[in-house]
């Protein structure tokens, strides 16, 4: 097998902007792309589409991109599935990148499978690590069944993966780095199949999960909506952000936006309290570098207890109200002291 240097395609990141600001996941991915590209002796490319975003190219270069493909036009201001897909597919067919990384944002999760299917290649969802294996294939790691799956795409190119915000650290920007900006033409045709009538932004409620010092996360063990409300009250009593697992979202107790994990949000609180959840990897990979972790679960054999510092074996529906009482009593005492 030949492993010729410098002949391979580049490592690309599909960067994303909202209101002309680069998303942090995009620069985080550039940082990881830089590491992979250095190992592969190739370059880092970024694709950035939007309007009035010319200055953002330099931010991508400072983060480690060698080349920015910039589509800067009014009709590209907002993500449009068909127009964005067409542009990226055409670029990839012309330049043949080895790897394409995309942020697991709402739009990235729609765009990535469309691009991958058009390029007839593989796509791995919500990776928590990306390394090169001994054959210089991209090893894309995802959590599953209490362990890790490594996925490769050995026969087709590019190799594609989505990654959530916070999986990789943001690189230190180097303002002195130089790179090439390649302006790409706006599409000469729009889409007559999908018309975007309106984009509405809504302010999220409560303490934001990603920046919270304390996260209380609830799972199926809440039992019902009433049990869930107790967990939400526990979060409130600690001024914590409320997180959830997929079963809790599927039950309809909470919004998708509260889901922590591989296909949800990444959190790095100082204190994490998991209530009525079994500690599935798909959830717990979303809890990064928590200083102290606590689990409350009625099953003393629950795998969650392998992943925490303190364990309470009890029915959360009975235990949580008692704990809330104690917390409130402590806080009142603290105020009066």
């Amino acid at each position: 097998m030949t492993t010729s240097n410098r002949s391979g395609g580049a490592v690309w990141v599909i960067a994303e902007q909202i209101d002309c600001r680069l998303l942090s996941v995009s620069t985080q991915l550039i940082g990881q792309a830089r590491k992979l590209a250095d190992e592969l002796h190739t370059s880092v490319g970024a694709v950035l589409l939007g309007n009035d975003i010319k200055n953002r190219s330099q931010e991508l270069i400072a983060a480690g991109a060698d080349r920015v493909f910039l589509g800067n036009a009014p009709e590209l201001a907002f993500y449009h599935p068909e127009i964005y897909t067409d542009i990226i597919v055409n670029l990839a067919q012309a330049h043949k990148p080895e790897i394409i990384l995309i942020g697991s944002t709402a739009t990235g999760r729609e765009l990535a499978p469309l691009v991958a299917a058009r390029l007839k290649t593989g796509l791995t969802a919500h990776c928590i690590d990306l390394v090169l294996d001994e054959n210089r294939n991209l090893e894309q790691r995802i959590p599953a069944y209490g362990g890790l799956l490594s996925i490769i795409c050995p026969r087709r190119r590019p190799q594609m993966a989505t990654v959530a915000k916070g999986v990789f650290a943001a690189p230190e920007p180097d303002e002195t780095r130089c790179g090439e900006i390649v302006e790409i033409d706006a599409p000469n045709r729009g889409s007559d199949r999908i018309e975007i009538l309106e984009i509405v932004r809504e302010e999220p409620e409560g303490v934001p999960l990603e920046s919270a010092a304390i996260v209380v996360a609830g799972g199926a063990g809440a039992g019902d909506l009433e049990g869930w409300k107790q967990i939400a009250d526990l979060a409130k009593s600690l001024n914590a952000a409320l997180g959830s697992t997929r079963p809790a979202v599927d039950e309809g107790w909470t919004e998708l936006a509260t889901m922590i994990g591989q296909s949800g949000k990444m959190v790095s609180p100082r204190l994490y309290i998991g209530v009525g959840l079994s500690g599935e990897q798909q959830h717990l990979v979303g809890v990064v570098d928590a200083k102290v972790m606590v689990a409350i679960n009625s099953d003393d054999k629950s795998p969650v207890f392998d992943q925490v510092d303190y364990g309470i074996v009890d029915d959360c529906r009975a235990f949580v109200p008692v704990l809330i009482q104690k917390i409130k009593a402590y806080q009142e005492k603290k105020v009066t002291c």
């Binding site: 599935p81 068909e82 709402a106 739009t107 990535a112 499978p113 469309l114 991958a116 299917a117 058009r118 007839k120 593989g122 796509l123 969802a125 090893e139 959590p143 069944y145 209490g146 362990g147 890790l148 799956l149 996925i151 490769i152 795409c153 889409s191 199949r193 999908i194 018309e195 984009i199 509405v200 932004r201 809504e202 304390i214 600690l238 997929r246 079963p247 979202v249 919004e255 998708l256 591989q262 100082r270 079994s278 798909q282 972790m293 606590v294 003393d300 795998p303 207890f305 992943q307 925490v308 510092d309 303190y310 364990g311 309470i312 009975a318 235990f319 009482q325 917390i327 402590y330 806080q331």
Partner: protein, 265 residues
Amino acid sequence: MLNIVVCVKAVPDPKEACNIKIDPVTKTLLRCDVPMVVNPLDKNALEVALQLKEKTGVHITVLSMGPPEAGNIVKECLALGADRGVLLSDPAFGGADTFATAFTLASGIEKTGPFDVVLCGMASSDGSTEWVGPQISTFLNIPVVTMVKEIVASDQNAWKVKAAIDDGYRLMQVRLPAVFTVTREVNTPRALSFSGIIKARKKEIEQWGLGDLGVSPDAVGLKGSPTIVSELSASESRREVEFIGGTREEKADLLLNKLIGTGLL
């Protein structure tokens, strides 16, 4: 009348999925007889079609790919009110990644006849990839909108939908035929009724294999999948747990002390 195809997947019951483990020695999956159920979000997709059927009259085909046992979840969808059930089942379909799965489902959708709308759950509870809906749209060369949380208007030629984005939504007008993937917010799925179960008994599930779809064996299953699992590794636990014992009151007091110890309260 609109023809709607709802794609459903049989998944391990999410409430018991934590019982599936990787054997640290053999690195194979230990399934421990976790029952298979309809993927929760696919029930929301079916509910969209069922509510339209009550309102305007639509024809609903439920389509699934899986082993013969997955016929049970197709049957359940018939009992909920779908008109026709099709199961794509063939050993050749096994080991498919999302690309090959979407190709196979798209081939099945084409074989069902003329269609206007394809509905899928936004993600499956076991794979959580979200790729199948969009990739079906690519193979059918029709538009897709993912994460639909509200159907605002649904006429014969176009649907107007609200689809979730990070911190908000987009309002879109989509020409049919099209694929929509739905979130839980779109509706509340109905429960099975006794009369539905009785009626479904008379309905037959059509089962189609590789030959029925007329596609190359190289395009489906493991052979048609660009991605492969190269390794399965059990994760080692990173923390040593200290169990807090005593009565409920004592446990709460002791835990509170630990929480105070973090300096965060």
